[in-house]
């Protein structure tokens, strides 16, 4: 997984509790992303970061916040988890494919979150 580690891999929590998911990368990539994967919706971008303390919203950012205080760590926080945030969350980095100029996403193994 290109040096991407997500933690925790599985979490069950109660509605209204805060949750933080961590993504750690070891290859000094500038860009990092958080996606959620849901049946019938594919992968949707929540937030992304283009450097330390530089973040921006994605398609489905409501109810989520992120922080990046170090290059290697990108945190996703659900301030008050809701059942609609039950999902599988993927962290990703991007790097050039070296040929066409496109940036390729490399994903972590995912964090499965269940909000009861």
């Amino acid at each position: 997984d290109a040096g991407i580690t997500q933690s925790p891999r599985h979490k069950v929590t109660e509605t209204g509790t805060p949750v933080t998911l961590r993504c750690h990368q070891t290859e000094n990539h500038r860009y990092m992303y958080w996606y959620r994967q849901d049946p019938g919706h594919g992968l949707r971008l929540i937030h992304y970061s283009y450097g330390v303390k530089d973040t921006d919203k994605g398609e489905v950012s409501d109810g989520y916040s992120v922080s990046r205080s170090k290059t290697e760590d990108f945190l996703l926080t659900l301030e008050s988890a809701t059942s609609s945030q039950t999902s599988v969350y993927f962290c990703a980095i991007s790097e050039s494919d070296g040929l066409s100029g496109a940036n390729v996403l490399t994903f972590g193994a995912g964090s499965r979150l269940t909000v009861l």
């Binding site: 594919g42 971008l45 921006d56 994605g58 993927f90 066409s100 496109a102 390729v104 994903f107 995912g110």
Partner: protein, 113 residues
């Protein structure tokens, strides 16, 4: 206009057969079309990608066919194998900007031995 519509939702193919997954888009600004493959319990991984300056790209048993005028592209898996059983996502983006990549809803492929 930002959607990427993928079909079918699921697909069962016999070993040795051809698997075909289709995607359609609306935004004519899209100029990068990757396919990602995801095995159970793993993150998606880039399988193959195409730019609109070519109508077809082949890598081993995997081929992307691209029809710019119809705004459609498809993934063909020749000689499908049980090891190809996975979920496949098409995507479309602009200028290689991964923060602008729009994913299809996914196709669950099962190749029966």
């Amino acid at each position: 206009q930002q959607q990427v519509k993928q079909s079918p939702q699921s697909l069962i193919v016999q070993k040795g057969g051809i698997s075909i997954i289709n995607c359609a888009y609306e935004n004519t600004a899209f100029d990068y079309f990757p396919w990602y493959q995801q095995f159970p319990g793993k993150g998606p991984a880039l399988l193959i990608a195409i730019r609109p300056d070519v109508s077809e790209k082949k890598e081993g048993r995997f081929t992307i066919s691209f029809n710019k005028s119809a705004k459609q592209f498809s993934l063909h898996i020749m000689d499908s194998q049980p090891g190809d059983s996975a979920t496949y996502f098409c995507a479309a983006g602009v200028g290689g900007a991964t923060n602008k990549l729009i994913f299809g809803t996914g196709t669950l492929l099962a190749v029966q031995p």
